[in-house]
């Protein structure tokens, strides 16, 4: 094959042309997104269907969602490097790559979303310390840097690059100090995941979003961090599963998978308990004090009903939680996969509610519900990161030793037979 020299030693990869064709197909989608992106930059945000009621819409949801699911990276990293859960070494690389993709996408989307991209840096230069968004911006960019650093050693392990002694040693040494970055990363993530929750929680003009809290942090701050830590691994596992299906190879050992699933399961369960408590308190204490009944937020409109609350909390929260903490269901691939998928849906739904439903709910007694359908430009720019992610994963998988267990898990049949 043309690119043999770059492929990790002993690893089997599909034929180069097939690989390229795949890339081209996904690349087409990518270009579509890029086109939409430039439309928004040059013609302005009138290209979207956002309006003065929907200042935040699909993009911000996508942002929160990818960051939430990208949370797998910091949490896995935390467990691996700080709590020394060594089994996770088999999936940590991949977790980091996914995190890298999610966070780079998030930054890209933000760059499209703001009305004046060339002034974007004001958020750092003229920072307002009271704003959750400032916190987000700082932590987000810092953590992205961290992820990049965490990603580099893996890149350096490429067969060719690694032959350069400098890089070889660099990679090695970076592995040594990775714990430090993991710690930093975990810390940063804790904050910006939280801040993203804070973004909604502090809006005391929006009863649907507003939450009381601890010191300057509304409860959503902690719930977001927690949910990211809980559902992030789900996403990591889901993507792993998908990669395995596509490559037709086992890439991560069941032991590791189950371990991560178990941890995730417990996180989800604890999170959802907290979430339920929060919701109940909000529904029966916070909101009534502002003159609203719970029903106000789930009626008199064409889309948002109680179903969304139930789906998020019960179907995509309690259910996956229980499925993953229960040994039998966890170790049964089918139920495990179902749980994982439900989990990912759950967290995305939560972010959706915390962005779009907030905007939709009328606050002034004489105002009315505002529903919104994104324009194709918004959709395209939202799919862009997905395409970009697929390509990056494909390339990384093809040329980097992402999965330490790949070889052992995929020994030639005869060898396997002998053992």
């Amino acid at each position: 094959m043309l690119d043999d020299a770059l492929i990790p030693e002993g690893a089997k990869r599909c034929a180069f042309p097939i690989f390229i064709i795949g890339i081209i197909i996904v690349g087409a989608v990518l270009l579509w997104g890029v086109y939409a992106m430039f439309l928004c930059w040059f013609k302005g945000l009138n290209q979207t269907n956002m309006n003065d009621y929907y200042g935040f819409a699909l993009w911000i949801w996508a942002d929160l969602a990818v960051i939430a699911v990208g949370g797998g990276a910091f949490f896995t990293g935390l467990l691996k490097y700080i709590f020394k859960v060594d089994d996770l070494k088999n999936i940590i690389n991949f977790a980091v790559i996914i995190g890298f993709i999610c966070y780079s996408s998030a930054l890209l989307i933000l760059a499209i979303d703001i009305g004046q991209p060339l002034r974007g840096w004001f958020i750092f230069w003229h920072a307002n310390v009271h704003s959750m968004l400032t916190e987000v911006a700082y932590c987000l960019s810092c953590y992205f840097a961290v992820l990049t650093i965490e990603f580099i050693p893996n890149i350096l392990e490429n067969r060719q690059v690694n032959k350069v002694p400098f890089f070889h040693h660099l990679a090695h040494n970076m592995h040594e100090v990775m714990a430090v970055f993991a710690a930093t990363g975990a810390f940063l993530s804790f904050f910006h995941q939280g801040s993203l929750g804070g973004v909604a929680g502090v809006m005391f003009g929006r009863p649907f979003a507003y939450r009381e809290g601890l010191l300057i942090w509304p409860w959503t701050f902690f719930l977001f961090t927690w949910s990211a830590a809980a559902f992030g691994p789900c996403f990591t596992l889901m993507v792993t599963k998908i990669t395995e299906i596509i490559t037709g190879k086992k890439l991560v050992g069941d032991k590791t998978v189950n371990l991560l699933a178990k941890i995730s399961g417990w996180m989800i369960t604890t999170y959802i308990i907290a979430k339920i408590i929060d919701t109940v308190y909000w529904a029966f204490v916070t909101v009534p004090s502002m003159g609203f009944e719970l029903g106000h937020f789930y009626s008199n409109n064409g889309f948002y009903g109680y179903w969304i609350l139930i789906t998020e909390v019960i179907l995509c929260g309690v259910v996956p939680g229980l499925l993953l903490i229960n040994k039998s269901t966890r170790e049964n691939p089918t139920t495990r996969t179902i749980a994982i998928i439900l989990g990912v849906i759950g967290v995305c739904l939560n972010r959706w509610v915390m962005v779009l439903q907030i905007m939709a709910v009328p606050v002034m007694s004489f105002d009315s519900w505002a529903l919104y359908i994104p324009s194709w430009q918004e959709v395209a720019t939202t799919i862009l990161p997905v395409a970009y992610g697929i390509i990056l994963i494909a390339v990384a998988y093809r040329y980097l030793p992402v999965f330490p267990q790949e070889l052992e898990l995929n020994e030639p049949a005869d060898a396997a037979a002998q053992n």
């Binding site: 302005g44 009271h130 003009g205 929006r206 004489f366």
Partner: protein, 274 residues
Amino acid sequence: MVIDLDKCTGCGACMVSCMSENNVPFKEDESDKKLSITWMRVYKLTNGKSFPEAEIVYLPRPCQHCGGIGDHGHSPCVSVCPATATDYGYDTGIVSQIYTRCFGCRYCMGACPYHARHFNWWDPKWPEGMENYLSPNVSPRMRGVVEKCSFCYHRYQLAREQAIVEDREIEEKEYQTACTTACPAGAIVFGDLNNPAHKVHQIVKPDPHPDPMNHKVVGKSRNPKVFRLLERLGTNPKVYYMSDREWVRKAGDNYLKGEWENVKTHHGASSSHG
């Protein structure tokens, strides 16, 4: 600012006066009000009854210039702006905005329950020659930034310059917003709420103490006919509304079933500590 909703006829003079005073642009189709930049917007409320019992009221809505919870100056929008492009003037109580600082994240719009903030989705464009009527006292905005009512701050600035060269204080009549001066019904009264000599103060009689029923609220009116929009949220707006009609006053905020009956009689803390 106090707006007498019983006097307001919904003629729209305030809106137009505001737009021409503040160089607000216009598009070919402005019928989608969610995309229509109107610093001052007049809402139409109905009592839900059928003709001839039906009643309506027009409610002009400028920026409410909120003081935030406890009136400490952390307005819903100000506290969230990441780039300090909007801030609270502790001297005037007016919420400022720098259009050239704003980079268009629109967080403030999400945080404002009054929809008083508007985004420039398009480049402002005036038909050829019409840019001739633009006023130099307010800078035209560019695409991609948020704008809102400024209580005609530039009028304050001009009045102040004159007062400075004449070495005296600004008089009540010298600083009036464009909507106030335009209103043919005289429904809008503007002035310094903290100045007992000013008409607004005399109408509102704001209660300096926190409301014993809700400590987030400060400056509640002691006048039974006067109310503020969404007062219970603790945004503490500087725009007060006045009406003889109970259903109108009730529409100003949200109440649980039966709650209104208890609160309607409660005005400011005047009852508890005069």
